[in-house]
Amino acid sequence: MDAILLQILNGLDKGGAYALIALGLTITFGTLGVVNFAHGALFMLGAFCAVSVKALLSLEQVTEDATQLTAWGTPLEVRVPYVESWFGDFGTVLLDYSVPVSILVAIPVMLLIGVVMERGLIRFFYKRPHADQILVTFGLAIVLQEIVKGAFGANPIPQPAPDVAKGMIDFGVAVGMDAGNVVYPMWRLVYFLFSVAVIAGVFAFLQFTTFGMVVRAGMADRETVGLLGIDVDRRFTIVFGIAAMVAGLAGLMYTPILSPDYHMGMDFLVLSFVVVVVGGMGSLPGAVAAGFLLGILQSFASMNEVKSILPGIDQIIIYLIAVIILLVRPRGLMGRKGVMEH
């Protein structure tokens, strides 16, 4: 029971990341009809927003201590972060909370990146075949990866969670079990709650605002909305920016779980496309449901009891489920009729 509960928790935080990326992919596909293979790179760019903010906050005042030498004979450098020397304890707290603080930077930055990407490149490919879109966005993803590698190197860069969220939560006690049986890293639960909040925010935005209503109408019938004198393209550009922001925030908050490196977006991209297909092309609730479902199933498939019966199942479970669902429900769990069917 303990092991099952642990794997459910594990699946939920992993599923949170899948759902957030798949949500952005689905929004982009549903509004613009673009298959965006650079979406994983946006997840990575969000993570590197956190890296950049931490690097900026960690800028150091360097003084040389001539009384001490390094192992290679040069004077030892004494480094103190500027924020600590300027703001004292507040500076230390700012450094500790660099990941949550970087959300404030990532929101405008990712929105801007999304808008520039859509206006500068993607819009030229709206009427081109999906194969062209895949090629150009995949190429863009590789370019972005190489830029990040050139700037930050190839090695993972650790981004610790704030001290207050580094510990474990005894989840077992909360559900009436003995203490110490189901303990789980606090930041992973924070990530799960964060993903739920972002998903709820995106749904609320699309459901309860005039802007969202126009976007939904545009997703259903772009031409008619255009005939009503509404500039759908401008709204869709903003939607692309929002999708980029959601992917970026997903990556940013994931950094304490997975030390970011230039390749992290690609690791999630393929899985997220499977999530979109399983959820149903163009279906936002489908993408979210499939994200969590596949996250949990992937965790269960990694249990030793399961692997002893089906060796290697952990590595194929997501694709196996995708095959089964597409055989039973060709449009995916909540796919809409007519989307990607011609």
């Binding site: 794997q7 090695n155 997975l258 690791d267």
Partner: protein, 445 residues
């Protein structure tokens, strides 16, 4: 439509052209040369084949820095580095055999196919007489095979699998770096002293050649000490998030987690294991322990404070206080502003050892240079007294057991050496790992 009649003469011509085409790949060198890429002018070209892109690009960049430094020192430039402490005094600072060392570089991309392609290009187009470098066992084994076929010497870079000088060894290939067998033999007793002999280990293993080799060695040596192995779980290479493999450890009853991971996998699995509280956990009335059998300081930096107190092994560390290590760290640090990694050290040593062997042999011919390395005993290159064993072309020397430092003084100061395991304790019979060296190939056959 006109019909062209094919005559006997046309047939012969076509056959000759096709025959020459098929034969071309087998004739690696023109007959004017006594062996592949025999240097004729005032220079000799070495090929540095390192990962310049991909996940190990940072390690590759450090290897390249070391090679550039080695080439400078061999040519008599700079402060001479470890040439000043090297026990052999054959090199005179005027290149190799009087020829100035120049070099070309290739990008292995940490992929066997790409590594072979770049090595082939350096041999065939650039005239490299020796290939060296790399940061993975699969690329090392692939390039070693290619060099054997081409008739050039291969001086392996960072490769830790037993197979490189075990079942896949070749006469033209030489390895200075240690292997998983030595890691297991060195770590075993230290783990017993630190954690006792009544332990239950749970292995997470990267699912490829090196991971299996590492898992086998650690399992063998810890079980000899009385440890039990609860489970060995294979994880896909580059999994990223290992949490679904770590959560079963929490409820397994095992009290030691062995992470047979390297590079990015090691950084991620170790970070996540610590996040799940394993380093601070108590199981069976004992403190839970995590072991990382192969450490890389460059990679350990990526895991940050999570490496604190975690045991592992390494081929060399910049904090060593022997004269060779100090000379190398000084030379490298003054040129680049930071200390060298173990990958840089092994690559520097390989370049120096090759140059020295050529100088002693008086030629670059593989079948003469190779025997000059076989059984060669030396000192002053940072690992204490070392021998290139003749029977498998593997260097035997002391092995370092290290631990993540509790109070690092800088971002480079993440590991501390806790034991120098003597060579005698890590040595094994060459036939134990199988394979055959076979004959040298000079590329003229």
């Amino acid at each position: 439509m006109s019909k062209r009649k094919i005559g006997r003469r046309d047939m012969l011509k076509t056959t000759a052209v096709v025959g020459a085409g098929f034969a071309a790949p087998m004739v690696f060198v023109p007959r004017a040369y006594a062996y592949t890429n025999e240097p004729k002018g005032a220079t000799v070209t070495l090929g540095f084949n390192v990962p310049q892109t991909g996940a190990y690009a940072d390690e590759g960049a450090d290897e390249l820095r070391a090679y550039e430094l080695a080439a400078e020192h061999i040519n008599g430039e700079g402060d001479g580095g470890m040439l000043n402490t090297f026990s052999s005094k054959a090199l005179k600072g005027n290149g190799i055999n009087g020829k100035q060392v120049i070099y070309v570089t290739g990008d292995t991309q940490t992929k066997a196919d790409a590594a072979r392609a770049s090595a082939k290009r350096m041999i065939e187009k650039d005239g490299a007489v020796m290939i060296t470098g790399g940061s993975s066992s699969s690329t090392a084994i692939a390039v070693q095979g290619l060099c054997q076929e081409a008739g050039v010497i291969f001086m392996a870079g960072l490769t830790h699998s037993n197979d490189t000088t075990g079942k896949d060894k070749r006469a033209n290939g030489f390895r200075h770096f240690f292997n998983t067998e030595m890691s297991g033999a060195a770590l075993g007793p230290v783990l017993k002293n630190a954690f006792g002999s009544d332990r239950v280990a749970y292995h997470l293993t990267a699912d490829y050649t090196w991971g299996w080799s590492q898992e086998g060695s650690i399992k063998k040596y810890t079980e000899q000490l009385g440890w039990q192995t609860y489970e060995t779980v294979r994880t896909p290479l580059g999994a990223g998030d290992f949490s679904q493999y770590i959560t079963p450890v929490l409820t397994s009853g095992a009290d030691v987690l062995v992470l047979n991971h390297y590079g990015r996998d090691m950084v991620n699995s170790l970070t996540q294991a610590v996040q799940f509280g394993l380093r601070d956990k108590q199981v069976n009335g004992k403190d839970f322990a995590i072991v990382v059998p192969l450490y890389s300081r460059l990679m350990a930096q990526g895991a940050g404070e999570n490496v604190k107190g975690i045991f592992g092994s390494t081929n060399w560390h910049w904090s060593l206080q022997d004269e060779g290590s100090k000379a190398f760290v000084r030379s490298f640090g003054q040129k680049y502003g930071f200390p060298p990694s173990q990958a840089a050290h092994t690559c520097y040593c390989q370049a120096i050892l090759y140059a020295d062997a050529c100088e002693r042999a008086g030629t670059f011919r593989p079948s003469v240079v190779g025997p000059a390395l076989e059984g060669f005993k030396f000192d002053g290159l940072g690992n204490g007294p070392t021998e290139y064993r003749a029977s498998d072309h593997q260097c035997f020397k002391d092995v370092l057991v290290v631990k993540g430092k509790e109070a690092p003084t800088s971002k480079f100061d993440v590991l501390e050496v806790v034991e120098v395991t003597p060579r005698a304790q890590v040595e094994y019979p060459a036939e134990m790992l199988g394979g055959e060296l076979g004959p040298y190939n000079d590329g003229t056959a």
